[in-house]
């Protein structure tokens, strides 16, 4: 049956997908699809219930990231069952209710999808058997809560409330994450089973206080405990079904669930009792007190929820096992009566257009059925006998009498509990009296009436449960309460009895006192309201928004400072960072000289290097005369390719040479579009500053190079040298590395090449017309655009160049050459035709789709790679063999040659796409009538 667990989670997901895909469905159909999730969930759970009540635990597990202790574990025991039933049960009613609550203009799929996402997340928390997995679902509830609070995103209070709730709960979630990670480290596993069995070891650990505080931070923020309670009233901007579901019945119980879940592992210490009971007590009192002063019905219910959550937390902080039983019992009861009260508030809002209790009075005359239902639920909230709220409140009172958490002051606790109950009776009385009686409605926009018949059904179900549990507690919830408590405590709780009548005892007296005093308090509320009005209070939401605005302001200032929009500033900052990071370790060394033998200096290389350096400097000096600078930088590139030959890299020399030609053409074309001279711009100070930076870079990089050159390092290259022939079938190791050993890298690189070329193509389309008719000195372009000599020579060279490139291509695997070089040579040869004859001449003669060339190149390379899959080998495993062909002798055929063909095509396509398109612009923009501009 454990196999069913993942399905419980996937069904909401299924409904979400359907809802989002088929937005055209009618409202009823959408509701049905949404209802499918909880109904199916309950049906899946049903067969497991008998076993679970006997104490069975179902578990299903998959490996995910075992190294990090991450397993997907679903774990269902009686406690999880209880919460799952609440989530599904109340979810079912809320979805049904929302069908009538939402107006026709509200987007329903989004609402139901968010609600189901929440349902899934909440189930995830409850069913997680791994604390990290639990945390992920925990954060998902915060996010779905954010989406639901901000559902009416056009309303400012909804947006602000959502932001506040997310900030508080997500911040708590981060604390929780740290706490859970530490907990997992101390316990040696993130699996819940292990953690629960390691209680004594965790408590004895030195990190226990930290772990506890962090986990409590997470739980208290989620469950709106003092001093983090302020987000909950602001979350009331959500549609009322959301308030009923998330912010009273389920999500705010997640924190409490976590405390109960981890109870055997982290509870039982003095620190736990003092922190948890204190937070619970303060929340209980502040919630109950402020609830009385709310004029908004939902505000009253929100503070009442805070107060009841405090009550449950306080119970968990009392040092008896029975208190935990009472806490679980109150979770059930509170969920039932508070959800129905929120539904009543929603109906009232729906039918009167207002939630202000100063306006809505005397509704008994307009909606007697709803009024009766709401009054029963409110009475349950106040703790009136025969209703479920009474039972758990009695248990609570009796537990406050049997504790010693406050030491010698423990007698205070029953007193304060009674005081909170007094307020709870008073605000319940206000809810009943102010809304349903107390004269006539004042200034309502419409005349209230009963809601649609079916809108009341969920309320009726819940109120029936209030009465049912209140009268027959043992029969209705006895079994599951016992099983859930056993699962929570990991041992059988002490004996207790769930009954309406326990005889005349102290808890009953406390109830009676609270009831009488509460009514008296409500009757004399005028004085109390006057007293409360004397306080200047800023709303939490305004303080929070102020903080947010300030933060945004700071961030803007910072980014304006860090991002001034000056490229030079950015580059300088990065380079200085490099100089410091790379320069500092150099300071720690004694000498740059290493153990490696030096190569004697020969005149040829020395001359090359000197010319190269001089040309580089000349580029800098003449950089404002751009054509001259271009020629100089080409000299640098030329010298570099000669150096490559000198130091045994013929492949590189060939590539560099070909690229040099292409780059020169490219920069020449660029000069056509850009000014030919730079104005003198830099101030002396700027120049000095840049010179210092350039000098520092030169020193650091040069020293690093020398350091590297004089030290011997282990290299993986020996492997490539040893295996190139036997594994890759080629003797040119550089080429074998490119097409075989590191073929996947090369595949990525040609893809980048193709993307760059396509990006350039896109950038050049629709470029504004820009027509220079003359150069910087006012000379117009040469009339004879295509000199005869060049035309003749280039035409003659073309077949030769193509032959050379074919030759280079085929010998590449064994001798210097290969796809890159061959591609560049071909491209350069074709570019020469463009230069010599112009685009208009070449275009009809060379009808090539360059982008298709790139695509086919990448495709061929990819197909070569995937072909090895057919033989059951990994991607890009190369194949080669030797064949004896008459007349030609022994021929080697290797799959690498096909891959190299892909490289070749991509290189040709990219280079031509770039240069030909750029060149085409000069033709298209060529002034037709010279001298007229």
């Amino acid at each position: 049956m454990a196999l069913l667990l993942p399905w419980i989670l996937s069904i909401p997901l299924f409904s979400i997908v359907i809802l989002l895909l088929f937005r055209q469905l009618s409202r009823n159909e959408q509701t049905l699809i949404a209802l499918l999730a909880p109904i199916a969930g309950l049906l899946l759970l049903a067969p497991m219930i008998p076993d679970l009540l006997q104490g069975a635990v179902f578990q299903q597990q998959w490996q995910w990231l075992p190294v990090l202790g991450l397993q997907w574990t679903f774990r269902l025991d009686a406690l999880a069952l209880l919460f799952s039933l609440l989530i599904f049960g109340i979810g079912l009613l809320v979805i049904f209710y929302a069908r009538y609550y939402l107006s026709a203009s509200d987007p329903m799929p989004r609402f139901y999808a968010s609600l189901l996402l929440f349902m899934l997340a909440m189930l995830g928390i409850v069913l997680s058997g791994n604390v990290l997995q639990l945390w992920m679902f925990w954060e998902l509830t915060s996010i779905s809560s954010f989406l639901l609070i901000s559902y009416w995103s056009h309303r400012s209070d909804a947006r602000k409330g959502a932001r506040l709730a997310l900030t508080v709960t997500a911040a708590g979630g981060l604390a929780l994450l740290v706490g859970l990670i530490l907990l997992g480290q101390v316990a040696g596993s993130y699996q819940l089973d292990v953690i629960l069995s390691k209680g004594p070891q965790i408590i004895a650990d030195a990190q226990y206080p930290l772990i506890l505080v962090l986990i409590l931070l997470g739980a208290f923020t989620k469950s709106a405990q003092f001093p983090f309670h302020f987000w909950l009233p602001n979350a009331m901007a959500a549609p009322t079904p959301v308030s009923a579901y998330l912010h009273s019945a389920t999500m705010v119980k997640a924190g409490i669930f976590l405390l109960i879940r981890l109870y055997p592992a982290i509870a039982g210490t003095d620190l736990w009792f003092s922190l948890v009971s204190l937070a619970g007590l303060l929340t209980l009192l502040t919630g109950a007190y402020f609830a009385l002063f709310q004029h908004d019905i939902k505000g009253l219910l929100a503070y009442s929820t805070i107060s009841h959550l405090g009550l449950i937390t306080l119970l968990l902080g009392l040092d008896t096992d029975l208190a935990t039983v009472a806490a679980i019992f109150h979770i059930i009861n509170h969920a039932v009566f508070k959800a129905s009260l929120f539904m009543a508030a929603g109906i009232i809002d729906h039918e009167t257009g207002s939630r202000d209790m100063r306006k809505i009075n005397g509704l008994w005359h307009f909606m007697p059925v709803t009024a009766s239902l709401a009054m029963v639920a409110a009475a349950s909230m106040a703790g009136v006998p025969l209703l479920n709220g009474f039972l758990s409140k009695e248990m609570f009172f009796s537990q406050t009498l049997h504790q010693s958490v406050l030491g010698a002051l423990s007698w205070l606790l029953p007193l304060l509990a009674t005081l909170a109950a007094v307020f709870s009776v008073a605000y319940s009385a206000r809810f009943i009296h102010d809304v349903f009686f107390n004269g006539k409605p004042i200034g309502l926009d419409k005349i209230p009436h009963e809601p649609p018949r079916y809108m009341r059904v969920p309320m009726e179900v819940l109120v029936a449960l209030c009465i049912g549990v209140g009268v027959f507690p043992q029969w209705l919830v006895g079994d599951i309460l016992l099983a859930a408590s056993t699962a929570a405590l990991q041992q059988t709780p002490p004996a207790y009895s769930l009954a309406l009548w326990h005889g005349l005892n102290l808890p009953l007296l406390m109830s009676v006192v609270a009831f009488v005093a509460g009514i008296v308090l409500y009757i004399n509320r005028k004085e109390l309201f006057l007293f409360q009005a004397g306080f200047q209070s800023t709303l939490a939401i305004h303080r929070f928004e102020g903080q947010v605005q300030r933060l945004v302001q700071r961030c803007r200032q910072f980014s304006q400072w860090a991002e001034p929009g000056r490229l030079q500033w950015y580059i300088a900052a990065m380079l200085w960072a490099m100089v410091l990071l790379a320069g500092y370790p150099l300071l720690q060394l004694n000498s740059l000289q290493g153990e490696r033998g030096l190569l004697p200096t020969d005149w040829f290389s020395a001359v090359l290097v000197v010319i190269m350096v001089l040309a580089a400097m000349a580029t800098v000096i003449w950089q404002r005369q751009r054509l001259l600078a271009l020629i100089m930088i080409s000299v640098v590139g030329l010298m570099l390719s000669l150096l490559f030959i000198r130091f045994s890299a013929p492949d590189l020399a060939l590539t560099q040479l070909a690229v040099e030609v292409a780059t020169a053409v490219l920069l020449m074309l660029a000069l056509y579009f850009l000014p030919h001279r730079s104005p003198k711009q830099s101030a002396h100070a700027t120049l000095l500053r840049d010179l210092i930076l350039a000098g520092s870079c030169a020193i650091v990089v040069g020293s690093l190079a020398y350091l590297m050159l004089t030290h011997q390092a282990d290299s993986v290259s020996a492997y490539f040298l040893a295996n190139a022939k036997s594994g890759g079938g080629g003797t040119n190791v550089v080429n074998v590395i490119l097409v075989d050993f590191r073929g996947f890298d090369t595949f990525g690189e040609i893809t980048v090449l193709g993307i760059a070329a396509l990006g350039i193509y896109k950038l050049l389309t629709g470029i504004p017309r820009f027509k220079p008719s003359a150069d910087a000195d006012g000379r117009s372009w040469a009339l004879d655009a295509h000199p005869l000599m060049l035309r003749v020579v280039s035409q003659g060279l073309l077949p030769l160049a193509l032959l050379v490139s074919v030759y280079l291509f085929f010998r590449g695997h064994n001798l210097p050459g290969g796809g890159f070089v061959a591609g560049l040579v071909t491209a350069v040869a074709l570019i020469m035709q463009y230069i010599a004859h112009g685009v208009d001449w070449v275009k009809p003669r060379l009808n090539l789709q360059f982008s298709a060339l790139i695509a086919s190149g990448i495709l061929i390379a990819w197909l070569t790679g995937t072909a090895s899959w057919l033989f059951g080998k990994p991607f890009l495993t190369s194949w080669f063999n030797y064949f004896d062909i008459p007349l030609l002798g022994q021929i080697e055929l290797a799959s690498a040659i096909a891959f190299d063909l892909g490289v070749y095509l991509t290189v040709v396509g990219s280079t031509l796409l770039i240069l030909a398109n750029l060149g085409k612009l000069t033709t298209r923009h060529k002034p037709e009538h010279l001298g007229q501009i």
Partner: protein, 113 residues
Amino acid sequence: MELLIAIAIGLLTGCGVLLILRGRTFAVMLGLTMLSYAVNLFIFVSGGLTAGAGAVLGASAQYADPLPQALVLTAIVIGFAMTAFLVVLAIRARAELGHDEVDLQKPNTRGGA
């Protein structure tokens, strides 16, 4: 020889840095090209300087390190594509903005551009 190469790498880097710190797009292109020369040379010599021993099996008694060569080979080609991209970006910027300065300038501070 090693010292000479190291000095050359350093100077190329310095020239490249100086160029990319200029305020016009063309100088930045030149600087980037120069820097890629320097970087390619740097990576290439990370395998040590070897004369007369290409990485072709059977052609000589010892071989130069083939790995840096393979790295640099693709770097040269991609470097060209990236330079080209930058060039086209600069051309487009000139066409759209009417000037070839690299910095975003606020309208009130744009002077003798």
